[in-house]
C-alpha cells in the first residue's frame, strides 16, 4: 500500500498515512485530487478505480471515506477488508466510533493503525491481538500518570 487517507464528506482530511516518501507539496496535491475524484462519484459505483498508475480502493462509512492506494499487483478485495478491519478496530476501541472520536483522538487513530499496518503491509490481522497491544499501552499510560499524581500530591 502506498498511502491511506480518511476524509469527511466535506472533503476535510481526518487522517493521512504515507508509506512512500513524498514531499509535502506532492502529498497535498494527491490528497486534493483524490478527495475531489472520490467525492464526485455516485454511491452505487464500484469501490475501485484506476488513478494515475495506482489502484484506488475506497469505502464510505457514515460521514467518513476511507481510501487506500495500492500497487498494480495488489488485491482490491482484500484491501477493502483491510479498511473494514481498521474500522472495526476503531469501533471496538472507541465504542461505536464516529468522526468526532477520530478528530479529538487523532493520535490514537494513528497508534491503532501502526499496530495493524506497518510500512503499508498487514502486521497483525487479529483484532484481539491489535487491541491487546493498544490496551497494554494505555495501561502503561495510566500507571505512569498515576505515579505522577501521587508524586505531586506529596
Amino acid at each position: 500500500m502506498q498511502f491511506m487517507l480518511l476524509f469527511s464528506r466535506q472533503g476535510k482530511l481526518r487522517l493521512q498515512k504515507w508509506y512512500v516518501p513524498l514531499s509535502d507539496k506532492e502529498r497535498k496535491k494527491i490528497s486534493r485530487d483524490l478527495v475531489q475524484t472520490i467525492l464526485a462519484r455516485k454511491p452505487k459505483m464500484c469501490s475501485f478505480l484506476e488513478w494515475r498508475d495506482l489502484k484506488i480502493v475506497y469505502k464510505r462509512y457514515a460521514s467518513l471515506y476511507f481510501c487506500c492506494a495500492v500497487e498494480d499487483q495488489d488485491n482490491e478485495l482484500i484491501t477493502l477488508e483491510i479498511i473494514h478491519r481498521y474500522v472495526e478496530l476503531l469501533d471496538k476501541y472507541f465504542g461505536s466510533v464516529c468522526e468526532l472520536d477520530i478528530i479529538f483522538n487523532f493520535e490514537k487513530a494513528y497508534f491503532i493503525l501502526d499496530e495493524f499496518l506497518l510500512g503499508g503491509e498487514a502486521q497483525e490481522t487479529s483484532k484481539k491481538n491489535v487491541l491487546k497491544a493498544i490496551e497494554q499501552a494505555d495501561l502503561l499510560q495510566e500507571v505512569s500518570s498515576f505515579a505522577v499524581d501521587r508524586f505531586s500530591a506529596h
Partner: protein, 980 residues
C-alpha cells in the same frame, strides 16, 4: 470502552481542537492557530523548564496544526526530548511527531537515532515496537544506515517476542524498499524463509510481505519458500472455519495470509517437485470449489474475503498458464461474476478476464462471454466498469469476432465518456487494421471513426489509414470513392478533409470516370472545405491541388486561378504563401513530363510497426499491450502494407535517385511537420541530423511519421514519475559493467543482437548506419512479472569526448517511466559522427524493481567502423594508396593469437560486417585478406586500408592498418584484434 477515560486525556488539546472546529471562517482558523503557535513558541523558549506532560501536550498541538495542512518549523527538539522520557505516553507522542514531520537536520537525526538505539536495546517489547514503528514510518536512508544491520538479528533471534518480530519484519521491508544496498540478508536468508513455518499466524503474516519482496529481487536465494508456502497454504485452505480462531475473518480462515501466500507463489514458476505441485493444484481446486458452495454468511465481508482469495488464486493460475483445466474453470467462475449484482465483482471479473483472454488455453472460453461483455459496455452505470468492458472486448478480439466487436465499439463511441474516447478510437483503429480481411471494411471503419469521434482521432490514426491505402492498390479506388462520399456531408471533420485531400490527390483519377465525381467536382468539393480549415490542412490541400494538375490537366486553369488569388499567393502564413508561389510556378513552367515525374504517385511506405499501437501503449502503460500482440501486429502489418519485402534502404535509395520527385515528397511531408500539435514531434526524430543530409533523410521523413518513437506527454510523465518513484533517481550512474568491453566487442562486426541480459532485463539492439549518421533501436525487455518503475536511460560520451571536442552527437527521447512485467519498450537513438573517436558512448539505465534501484551502465556498441563506406578498387590502386600512407604513425600493426575459428567463410563474413569492401585478387598471397573503406565523419573522410594475414599452423594473425589519420589506425587495430 469510552475513550476519554483512557490514559491521560489532554484537556488543553481538546479545547484547542474545539476552538478550531468552532471557527466560522478560514481567517478565524488561521488567527486561532497563529495565536496558539505564538503561545507554544513562548512556552518552549521560556525560562521555566516544561514538565513532560506540557511538552507532550504542545507537541501534540503542533502535530494537529501540521495535519490540518499548516507549516510547522519548530518543536522538533522538544519532540526528540520526549523520546528519552521514561513515560510511555510521552515517548509515543514524541515518536509520532518524528514520524509525521520528518526532519533532515543532521544533529536531530543523530539524537533521534540515539533514542531509537536505546529503545531497541531496552528489551522492553513495547518500547522496541515503538522504535521499530518509527524506523518503518520514516524509512530514511540515514535510518537504514544506522539500523539495517541490527534489525535482521532482532527478527530471527530466538528470544524475540512475537509482536517485536512482526514489527521487525515490516520495518526491514520498508528499509529494503528505500535502501536495498544496505539490507543484506546473507546469513539470515534461510531463517527468514523459515518464518513461514512460525507458529504465530501474525508473525507469518508480517514476514510473508518481507519474503515476497526479497523473492522478487533474489528469486534463487529464496526459492525454498515455495514448498513452505504451499504447505502453509494447504493447511489454511483445508482448515475448518473455526480452527484459526481470531485469524478467521467472517468464516474465512486467514484471508490476508492466504492472499499473500498466493502472491508469493506468483514470483516463481510452477513447482518442479511433483508432490508439491500436486498439493498446490489441490489447493487451487479447493478454492475454486469453495466459490461454488453456499455462503456461510450474508455479510459482504465474508464474500469479499472469500473472493479475494479466489481472485488471487486465479491470478496464480493465469501466471502458471499451464493447467488448461484450471484456466477454463477460472474462466467459468469469472463468467458467473460478470452478471453478479455486486459492481465490484463485475469490475474485477472483467479485469481478470482480460488476462485470461491472452492465454491460448482460455481464449476460446473467454470469447463465449462476448454478449455479456457487450451488454456491460452498453448498460453499466459506472464509467470505470465500462472501461474494463471495453478493455476486455479489445483483449478477446480475434479474426472470428472482429467485425462484431468493432461495430459495437463504434456504436458505443457515439455516447462514450469523453475521458475514454481517445483510447477507444485507438483501439478501434488497431483492431480494424489487425483483423482486416477486406480493406474496404478497414477504410469504412476508419472513416466512420473520424465521422463519429473526429476530435479524438489522433494524427497517428489518419496517417496510418493513408499509409495502408497507399500500399494496397486493391483498395485505392474504393477509398477514393468512399472519402469522396464522406466529404459530401455539409459539416465534416477536419481530419476527414485531411484524409480526403490526401487520397483524392493521389487516387482521384480512379473515380474521375463517373461524371458525378469528375475532376472538377472533386476539386470544388475539396475547395469548398478549404476556408474552414486550419493552416496545416490548407497546406495539405494545396499539395493535393498541384497533384490534381498532374492527374487532370483539365483542372489546371481553375487551380492556377485559385493559387494566383491574393488570399493564397499573399497569404500572411509563410508556409501557405510559399506553397502557392512554388506550385503556381511549377505548374506554369514545367513540361507535362517533368510534372508527371515530380508529382508521381507516392511510393509505398516501408513496413513499420503501427504507430497507433505505440500510442496506445503510451496511454495505457506498456502492460496494456502484450508482447505477442506487438509481434502479431508487426506480422500482420507486413501483410497489410504489402510492401514487406521492401526495406527502408530501398525506399531511401529510390527517393534519392529521383531527386526531382523527392522535392515534392519532402514538401508533402512538410505538411505534417508544420502541424502545431504535439504529435508533430514525431518528426523531431531527425532533427539531430543536419540539413545537409537531406537526400537521405527526405525519404525517411515520412517513414518517421510512422515509426514508433512518439513523444511522451512531458508534463504528465513528470508528475507520474515524481509520484511513483520512492526516491528521486538522483543517484549517479554506476560505473560501466566489467564486461562492458566484451559486450561491445561482440557488436563490432554486426549491428543487431542482444546486447545485455540478466535476470531482470534484456536489452536488444538493431542499428543501421548511413554515411556519418546512424540510427539505433534499443529494446528493453522486462523479464520479470513485476513492473519496473522510474525507468530512465541516459547516454553520455565519456571523458575524452566531453572535455574538449564532441565527436559523437547522440540524440534520443526519454522512454516511458514504467515498464510492465513481460513488456518490452523501445528507444530510438540518432547518432551523428562529428569526428573520429575511440571511446564508445555510455548507456546508463536506472529503474526501480520492487522498490530497489537498479543502476547499470553499458557501452553502446557504436564504434568508429560503423561509419565505413566500402571502397572497391583495383590491385594497382590499392598498392598505390598503400604506399602513399607510408608515414610510420599512419600504420598500426598487431600480431595476435586466434581466439575464434579461422574458417575462411567466418573471416569473410566478419570483414564484411566491419563495413569495408573485401578486395579479391589484390594480395599476391591468396590466404590473406585485403579491405578498403572510407570512414565518414561530419568534418572529414578518413581512408582506411586493411590487411589481415592468417597463419593457420601457428594459429596467429598479423593485422596491419593504414589510414589517413593515425588515431583511426590505432583504434581500428585495437578493435579488430579482439574479433578474430
Amino acid at each position: 470502552m469510552p475513550a476519554v477515560s483512557k490514559g491521560d486525556g489532554m484537556r488543553g488539546l481538546a479545547v484547542f481542537i474545539s476552538d478550531i472546529r468552532n471557527c466560522k471562517s478560514k481567517e478565524a482558523e488561521i488567527k486561532r492557530i497563529n495565536k496558539e503557535l505564538a503561545n507554544i513558541r513562548s512556552k518552549f523558549k521560556g525560562d521555566k523548564a516544561l514538565d513532560g506532560y506540557s511538552k507532550k501536550k504542545y507537541v501534540c498541538k503542533l502535530l494537529f496544526i501540521f495535519l490540518l495542512g499548516h507549516d510547522i518549523d519548530f518543536g522538533h527538539m522538544e519532540a526528540v526530548n520526549l523520546l528519552s522520557s521514561n513515560k510511555y505516553t510521552e515517548k509515543q507522542i514524541g515518536y509520532l511527531f518524528i514520524s509525521v514531520l520528518v526532519n533532515s537536520n543532521s544533529e536531530l537525526i543523530r539524537l533521534i537515532n540515539n533514542a531509537i538505539k536505546n529503545d531497541l536495546s531496552s528489551r522492553n517489547p513495547t518500547f522496541m515496537c515503538l522504535a521499530l514503528h518509527c524506523i518503518a514510518n520514516v524509512g530514511s536512508r540515514e535510518m537504514a544506515e544506522a539500523f539495517a544491520s541490527e534489525i535482521p538479528r532482532i527478527l530471527v533471534a530466538g528470544d524475540t517476542m512475537d509482536s517485536v518480530k512482526q514489527s521487525a519484519a515490516l520495518c526491514l521491508l520498508r528499509l529494503y524498499k528505500t535502501s536495498p544496498d544496505l539490507v543484506l540478508m546473507g546469513e539470515w536468508t534461510s531463517r527468514v524463509v523459515h518464518l513461514l513455518n512460525d507458529q504465530h499466524m501474525g508473525v507469518v503474516t508480517a514476514a510473508i510481505s518481507l519474503i515476497t519482496c526479497l523473492s522478487q529481487k533474489n528469486p534463487d536465494e529464496f526459492k525454498t519458500c515455495v514448498s513452505l508456502a504451499v504447505s502453509r497454504l494447504s493447511r489454511i485452505v483445508s482448515s475448518a472455519s473455526t480452527d484459526l480462531q481470531d485469524y478467521t475473518y467472517y468464516f474465512v480462515p486467514a484471508p490476508w495470509l492466504s492472499c499473500k501466500l498466493l502472491r508469493l507463489l506468483q514470483c516463481y514458476p510452477p513447482p518442479e517437485d511433483g508432490a508439491v505441485k500436486g498439493r498446490l493444484v489441490e489447493c487451487l481446486e479447493t478454492i475454486l470449489n469453495k466459490a461454488q458452495e453456499p455462503p456461510k454468511s450474508k455479510k459482504v465481508q465474508h464474500s469479499n474475503a472469500k473472493n479475494a482469495i479466489l481472485f488471487e488464486a486465479i491470478s496464480l493460475i493465469i501466471h502458471y498458464d499451464s493447467e488448461p483445466n484450471l484456466l477454463v474453470r477460472a474462466c467459468n467462475q469469472l463468467g458467473q461474476f460478470l452478471q453478479h449484482r455486486e459492481t465490484n465483482l463485475r469490475y474485477l471479473a472483467l479485469e481478470s478476464m482480460c488476462t485470461l483472454a491472452s492465454s491460448e488455453f482460455s481464449h476460446e472460453a473467454v470469447k463465449t462471454h462476448i454478449e455479456t461483455v457487450i451488454n456491460a459496455l452498453k448498460t453499466e452505470r459506472d464509467v470505470s466498469v465500462r472501461q474494463r468492458a471495453a478493455d476486455l472486448l479489445y483483449a478477446m478480439c480475434d479474426r472470428s469476432n472482429a467485425k462484431q466487436i468493432v461495430a459495437e465499439m463504434l456504436s458505443y463511441l457515439e455516447t462514450a465518456d469523453y475521458s475514454i474516447r481517445e483510447e477507444m478510437v485507438l483501439k478501434v483503429a488497431i483492431l480494424a487494421e489487425k483483423y482486416a480481411v477486406d480493406y474496404s471494411w478497414y477504410v469504412d471503419t476508419i472513416l466512420n471513426l473520424i465521422r463519429i469521434a473526429g476530435d479524438y482521432v489522433s494524427e497517428e490514426v489518419w496517417y496510418r489509414v493513408i499509409q495502408i491505402v497507399i500500399n494496397r492498390d486493391d483498395v485505392q479506388g474504393y477509398a477514393a470513392k468512399t472519402v469522396f462520399e464522406a466529404l459530401q456531408a455539409p459539416a465534416c471533420h477536419e481530419n476527414m478533409v485531411k484524409v480526403g485531400g490526401y487520397i483524392l490527390g493521389e487516387f482521384g483519377n480512379l473515380i474521375a470516370g463517373d461524371p458525378r465525381s469528375s475532376p472538377l467536382v472533386q476539386f470544388n468539393l475539396l475547395h469548398s472545405k478549404f476556408h474552414l480549415c486550419s493552416v496545416p490542412t490548407r497546406a495539405l490541400l494545396l499539395s493535393a491541388y498541384i497533384k490534381f494538375i498532374n492527374l487532370f490537366p483539365e483542372t489546371k486553369a481553375t487551380i492556377q486561378e485559385v493559387l494566383r488569388c491574393d488570399s493564397q499567393i499573399r497569404n500572411s502564413d509563410v508556409e501557405l504563401q510559399q506553397r502557392a508561389v512554388e506550385y503556381l510556378k511549377l505548374s506554369s513552367i514545367a513540361s507535362t513530363d517533368v510534372l508527371a515525374t515530380v508529382l508521381e504517385e507516392m511510393p509505398p511506405f516501408p513496413e513499420r510497426e503501427s504507430s497507433i499501437l505505440a500510442k496506445l501503449k503510451k496511454k495505457k502503460g506498456p502492460g496494456a499491450v502484450s508482447v505477442t500482440e506487438l509481434e502479431d501486429s508487426k506480422r500482420e502489418g507486413g501483410e497489410l502494407n504489402g510492401g514487406g519485402d521492401r526495406g527502408p534502404d530501398t525506399s531511401a535509395m529510390s527517393a534519392s535517385n529521383a531527386v526531382s520527385r523527392h522535392s515534392v515528397t519532402s514538401n508533402l511531408s512538410y505538411v505534417f511537420q508544420s502541424t502545431p500539435s504535439p504529435s508533430a514531434d514525431l518528426l523531431g526524430i531527425r532533427s539531430s541530423a543536419p540539413a545537409g543530409t537531406a537526400p537521405a533523410s527526405a525519404g525517411n521523413l515520412l517513414v518517421d511519421v510512422f515509426s514508433e518513437a512518439g513523444p511522451a506527454a512531458p508534463s504528465a510523465a513528470v508528475n507520474d514519475d515524481g509520484f511513483l518513484s520512492s526516491a528521486p533517481p538522483s543517484e549517479d550512474p554506476a560505473p560501466p559493467l566489467s564486461e562492458a568491453d566484451e559486450l561491445l566487442n561482440k557488436f563490432v562486426c554486426k549491428n543487431n543482437g542482444v546486447l545485455f541480459e540478466n535476470q531482470l532485463l534484456q536489452i536488444g539492439i538493431k542499428s543501421e548506419y548511413r554515411q556519418n549518421l546512424g540510427r539505433m533501436y534499443l529494446f528493453y525487455g522486462n523479464k520479470t512479472s513485476v513492473q519496473f518503475a522510474s525507468f530512465t536511460t541516459s547516454v553520455s560520451c565519456p571523458g575524452e569526448l566531453q572535455s574538449h571536442i564532441l565527436s559523437l552527437n547522440v540524440q534520443t527521447k526519454q522512454v516511458e517511466p514504467l515498464v510492465e512485467g513481460g513488456a518490452q519498450i523501445q528507444q530510438v537513438l540518432n547518432i551523428e559522427c562529428l569526428t573520429d573517436f575511440s571511446d564508445a558512448p555510455l548507456l546508463n539505465i536506472k529503474f526501480r524493481y520492487g522498490g530497489a534501484l537498479q543502476n547499470l551502465t553499458l557501452k553502446l556498441p557504436v564504434t568508429i567502423n560503423k561509419f565505413f563506406q566500402p571502397t572497391e578498387m583495383s590491385s594497382h590502386d590499392f598498392f598505390q594508396r598503400w604506399k602513399q600512407l607510408s608515414q610510420p604513425q599512419q600504420e598500426a600493426q598487431k600480431i595476435f593469437k586466434a581466439n575464434h575459428s579461422m574458417d575462411t567463410e567466418v573471416l569473410k563474413a566478419k570483414l564484411l560486417g566491419l563495413g569495408t569492401a573485401l578486395l579479391d585478387n589484390v594480395d599476391p598471397n591468396p590466404e590473406n585478406y585485403v579491405c578498403a573503406g572510407v570512414i565518414q565523419t561530419k568534418g572529414q573522410q578518413v581512408g582506411c586500408l586493411l590487411r589481415l594475414e592468417p597463419n593457420a599452423q601457428a594459429q596467429m594473425y598479423r593485422l596491419t592498418l593504414r589510414c589517413s589519420k593515425d588515431s583511426v589506425s590505432r583504434r581500428l587495430c585495437e578493435l579488430l584484434a579482439e574479433q578474430f
